[in-house]
Symmetry: C3
Subunit: 326 residues, 3 copies
């Protein structure tokens, strides 16, 4: 959450939310309004939250949210100040509620707010190529360049001294200073997040952003998806080579180096000073420590502690890998 | 075959075909005309077929085609109604003959029939971005959107409620309803099919199409090649993540989920409800059953039966994989 | 080196170079001018070279260069005719000096020299799509076509009978005759080469080019980076499928076939008649012999001799691989 861009459609009366979920709750607070949906930790008493796994029970006990979408078997963890809203599938219900707060965050049709940069004030301060398009709610710092046919869609903030290549598309992204993004990238589109459903999958909202910190470089043909309920982050001075795919909610630390065609699956967290060789893959929801080196072509399917070199599929300590493979 | 788009250059006199192959056949039917080239099963008595491997001998025995490009050692399988045309290399000869029937199917130069959508009737019914180009023989249903700089080249049919992203190129493709294709995709170009030949490879024709069924989603930066002699098919409600490559003639079933950077090699058939993890690869000409799960990063090099979970390279049963790798 | 495109900023007085490196050298040749920077083998007595590893000591002994950037422990290998310039980090210093000779070779901002092809003389001789842009110092032979939205940036030479697709970007590249490049490619950008440095990596110059020889084909969505101090070469009649990444300084021989999503890391040399299956990766600085076959999905981490079939990760002889994996 904490997305500076999405227009929130609020407040909502809880009764309206319940109606959208086809739920009747026996409670006299139904006319109370909520202002936003946040996670258990961050929600305050004007907000609704969600709780879908026992894994989060300690956080749930202390949530400040006034309402919580949850299940019958989890509701007893919640404090008395928080009214449980019981559903069968918490994530589906959360998705529906989030869609009500953020109706623009579900589909990613092309941005029809864009106009040619020639028709904007940026024409004075930005160095730009042919056919550059700029959407609404875009800011660009001093000394930036944007290449031919690139599209800065709505909700993008670009800092100072940044270079954007040609044929690149950016949306819902905050870029700090001295960042370089090469050609044919797609940054800030929604991730591969949906509830599988026979005949018609149900997409869930992506209200996070992509955050690219100072001095980063993103190679040609890369895709970086924005977060669903948190942000996708590329830390300071981290360099990505060509054709890399960074999925939603991934966080990469500072001074890391990621070679060509690497893929990082959703919600994994990569530390600082990490080196990842070409074509390596990291599964979702993993934690890769600081100063880790992952050999090219490796497939990482479990957490890796700090200061470790791994290789292979599944990736293991490099000495073990090389000994076995001799 | 059964391509609704390619303009067929027919009928041809058999004598003309033989001449193109530098072949003399001792037969009094040389002035007979043939209307098309099809496979052994589908060809009728106005058509020519080809037979290059003993593997197809049972089908060959029953072919209805009047002529068949084949070898001296295979010709005895053909029925008397079918005149063999003996060549050294059946596939090369078939390629040459197909090129005569479908001269436009060999090279994929840019489509010079396109005009700006503003100059077409689509401007009334389609929501579109800047610089959208539309080729000849294109149809688009109601309630569709097409993003900036996208090119709908010739021979494309798009159904209702479809969303095409920006910088995407589509050719020789039938898209059903409620399909979403994201940015920077290339769909419907010819596959990686040619006869290796020192100093100058010989491309063979790709007269198939890409068929994308209802409710599919195709992620950013993906490439889907059209079929050579059959079609490439993405089944209903199948979702593809970013940077996926689907080669020619691949058929994927319904409700399947394919994560980022997966590659499926030519002519493989994937079942329904299949889940494929990120960066996995499937070799060519394989059959992956229904409800199969393929772990991220796996390399599948043999058929996988229904309801199986596999992982590793080469991919094997997941329990076996995890036991060995502990 | 031997880049026909980069405008060299020369001659330089050695004293100026030393000043840029904050070095004082006790030598009376400080006012001598050097015309270029080259490697140990190719530099002549008007040029400066560099020597950073004992591995090159035999070449160093015979260098004709007048000056050499090197370390205290390596300088004794140099002939008396060559004045050592002692630094702590030879590659960083070489990078700085090269940047002085070739100031345009470090960053790859979009090419602001381009104009619409309609405004050039190419409009008479090239078949082209909408919105095609052409940079300075571009030559194009007869019978070529360039697709929509493609950008031929500065310093590109295209031969006869070439077909460039749509949305493709080319820079610093020499393309011979009868070459076909499909859609959404990025060819000739700088490679992933820099000196890691906390908080701000230091990019080194890429003064090489991409050379694509006769009859090659490059699939959609591929990226080929230009060389840093040598060239990236795709040999005659070599075919690349879609979404392939070829890093800087890679040299691929003739008649090779490389399937989809393959990645070749920097400075590796691939022979003639090599076949590489889909998604395979080759690590950097390797030598892959002639007639080698690398199975799909393999990860090659050591040299492969001629006439060998390998598979697996790390790739090994295919018979050994299949025996172990049964």
């Amino acid at each position: 959450m904490s997305n500076p861009f999405y227009k929130i459609n609020s407040p909502f009366k809880i009764s309206k939310i319940l109606k959208s979920l086809n739920i009747t709750v026996d409670n006299n607070n139904l006319d109370k309004e909520v202002l936003d949906i946040k996670d258990l930790l961050n929600a305050n008493d004007t907000e609704i939250t969600f709780f879908h796994s026992k894994k989060y029970s300690e956080v749930a006990k202390k949530t400040k949210a006034s309402f919580c979408i949850t299940t019958n078997s989890l509701k007893h963890y919640l404090p008395k100040s928080c009214v449980p809203i019981i559903v069968d599938n918490v994530l589906v219900a959360t998705s529906k509620v989030t869609s009500q707060f953020y109706p623009d965050s579900v589909n990613d049709n092309f941005d029809d707010t864009v106009i040619n940069i020639d028709e904007t004030n940026f024409k004075e301060k930005v160095k730009y190529g042919k056919n550059v398009l700029i959407g609404s709610n875009v800011s660009i710092g001093s000394n930036c360049s944007i290449g031919h046919n690139s599209i800065i869609e709505k909700n993008v903030s670009i800092g100072r001294n940044c270079s954007i290549g040609s044929n690149t598309i950016i949306r819902n992204t905050v870029i700090h200073n001295d960042v370089k993004i090469l050609d044919n990238c797609v940054i800030g589109k929604h991730g591969f997040g949906f509830f599988p459903n026979n005949n018609k999958n149900l997409r869930y909202p992506h209200i996070g952003i992509v955050l690219i910190e100072d001095y980063c470089e993103i190679g040609s043909g890369s895709t970086i998806d924005r977060g669903s309920m948190s942000n996708t982050v590329i830390g300071k001075n981290t360099f990505l080579d060509n054709q890399i795919h960074i999925a939603h909610n991934v966080k990469i630390g500072e001074n890391s180096i990621i070679a060509g065609q690497v893929g990082i699956a959703g919600s994994s967290v990569i530390g600082n000073n990490v080196k990842i060789g070409g074509q390596a893959g990291v599964s979702g929801h993993l934690k890769i420590g600081n100063n880790v080196e992952i050999g090219g072509g490796s497939g990482v399917i479990k957490d890796i502690p700090d200061n470790t070199k791994v290789m292979g599929y599944p990736a293991k300590n490099i000495r073990e890998f090389l000994r076995e493979k001799k």
